[in-house]
């Protein structure tokens, strides 16, 4: 027996509330972040991820207060992302109690930020989030995915697999990979994307986007080769508990922390 595959509930937070969107839009309220964190912790979540999707910068400090409150009560790793633009933002989140900071748009705008942040605080706390969308390959080319930024609104022209490799080389300690095509659809992870990225890098990959049932979590690990699976709506609305998800994965031969 060795390392367990991780289940990570994701909390999208805006204006102090947890919300969930479909294809990155159409938000629905899901509750209080501290209360939800405590519930997932009790159910055996392996980590928690918070994505601050607050549009304006006015309310940015709200996430720091939420993280402080969660970190005083929940003793599992916390990842926080959203609006991280400079090393100073990383420092503020770590000091508030985050264990890892997830960087997305700013990594594309300024790849050196990853090197700088990893150099300062270590690769173990720098997660690069990649939002990827399938694009039709040229000629005989098969699967290709493009990196998008700004919450999925802006195409970058970057190839997701190559981008993941570059981020690893600059010091990313983990990749949080979201399929924009699948996010919110409940049709399962984009397994080809997940496997392409996971097989291309040495650092752990978290599969994200599209989980609608527990079999999808199993597929993400066994077919997508992900080290961790992230989901939001199947947990937020009480359809499944983390415990149920872990038991299901264990029944399918995946090592989990029960």
């Amino acid at each position: 027996m060795g390392l367990a595959k991780r289940i990570i509930p994701c909390l999208d937070v805006t204006n102090g509330r947890v919300v969930k969107g479909i294809n990155f839009v159409a938000l629905r309220d899901a509750g209080d972040p501290v209360e939800i964190s405590r519930r997932y912790d009790e159910q055996g979540a392996d980590e928690l991820t918070f994505l601050d999707i607050t549009a304006s910068s006015d309310n940015r400090d709200l996430i720091l207060r939420i993280i402080e409150e969660v970190a005083a009560q929940v003793f599992i790793p916390l990842t926080v992302g959203g609006g991280v633009r400079q090393v100073e933002d990383v420092r503020r989140l770590l000091n508030a109690g985050a264990d890892k900071v997830s960087i997305n748009t700013s990594a594309v705008q300024n790849p050196q930020l990853i090197a700088e942040a990893a150099g300062h605080y270590g690769s173990q706390c720098i997660v690069v989030a990649i939002d990827a969308k399938q694009v039709s390959g040229a000629g005989a080319d098969t699967n290709r995915w493009e990196v998008f930024t700004h919450g999925g609104r802006k195409a970058t022209g970057l190839d997701a697999v190559e981008w993941a490799k570059k981020m690893q080389s600059l010091g990313a300690g983990e990749i949080l990979l979201t399929s924009m095509d699948r996010d919110g659809t409940r049709n399962g992870f984009d397994l080809a994307l997940t496997r392409a990225v996971s097989d291309a890098v040495d650092v752990p990959v978290i599969a994200s986007g599209g989980v609608g049932n527990l079999q999808h979590l199993v597929d993400g690990v066994l077919q997508g080769h992900a080290e961790a699976v992230l989901a939001a709506s199947i947990f937020h609305y009480g359809e499944y508990s983390i415990r149920q998800a872990k038991e299901y994965m264990a029944q399918h031969g995946i090592e989990v922390r029960l």
């Binding site: 390392l3 173990q124 097989d199 040495d202």
Partner: protein
């Protein structure tokens, strides 16, 4: 007097460590400090660390903390966490840097992911990140109330290879067996993060806060 000093040499976030200690010892004074005097006066010392070992050694020395760390490791309940375990050894492959040399052995890098596979034939990634089983090798007050094979949270790319089996307090597999905890006299040090390891981690920290180690003659001489 400070009950528990968490040594801060500027490498990594110590808030989680202090919050977890405050949680298990609500009446204790827990201080995050880079002041050697405070470290020397504390009843117990926690020696954490994140990032790269050459930077850790450099930052520790830059703050004049080396002697205070050595003194604490020789004289009072001492808990090393992550890099705070690795730095106790003689040397590391990471930047070929010298460690504190309190325990014989060296720090080695995991082989590249391509060389390691799990039972499903899937490549094992580096860093070793997540919840792994901790197999207790000895009986120890810090293991009290923790089942052997309990899972703790790890995140590291280097592991310690002790020169002899004596200080090994626990081991894990990734995929080969490696030492994840050591114990010697008043020193206990772990590769995993008890402050992030839920109930098992809090139990270990609670055990540390209450631990009254049997000091060796050598340690008490140094103290005198």
């Amino acid at each position: 007097m400070t009950d528990i000093a968490i040594i801060d040499y500027g490498m990594g976030n110590l808030r989680s460590v202090s919050k977890a200690l405050e949680h298990v010892a609500p009446n204790a004074s827990v201080v995050v400090t880079s002041d050697p005097v405070v470290v020397r006066q504390a009843a117990r010392v926690v020696f954490p660390g994140q990032g790269a070992m050459p930077n850790c050694m450099h930052e520790m020395d830059a703050r004049g903390l080396r002697d205070a760390v050595l003194d604490a490791a020789a004289s009072k309940p001492f808990l090393g966490i992550c890099l705070g375990l690795q730095m106790l050894f003689e040397s590391s492959e990471e930047g070929n840097v010298q460690g504190l040399g309190i325990l014989p052995g060296k720090v080695r890098h995991f082989p590249p992911a391509v060389a390691m596979q799990d039972a499903n034939g899937q490549r094992l990634k580096v860093p070793h990140m997540g919840w792994n089983q901790v197999h207790q090798a000895i009986e120890h007050p810090l293991w009290q109330g923790i089942t052997t094979d309990a899972r703790f949270y790890f995140v590291h790319s280097y592991y310690v290879e002790t020169a002899n089996p004596e200080p090994v307090a626990a081991y894990s597999f990734y995929p080969f067996q490696f030492t994840c905890a050591v114990a010697k006299d008043n020193i206990f040090a772990v590769q995993f993060h008890p402050e992030k390891s839920h109930a098992a981690g809090l139990t270990l920290l609670g055990n540390f806060v209450r631990w009254e180690p049997n000091f060796t003659t050598k340690a008490s001489q140094i103290r005198a």
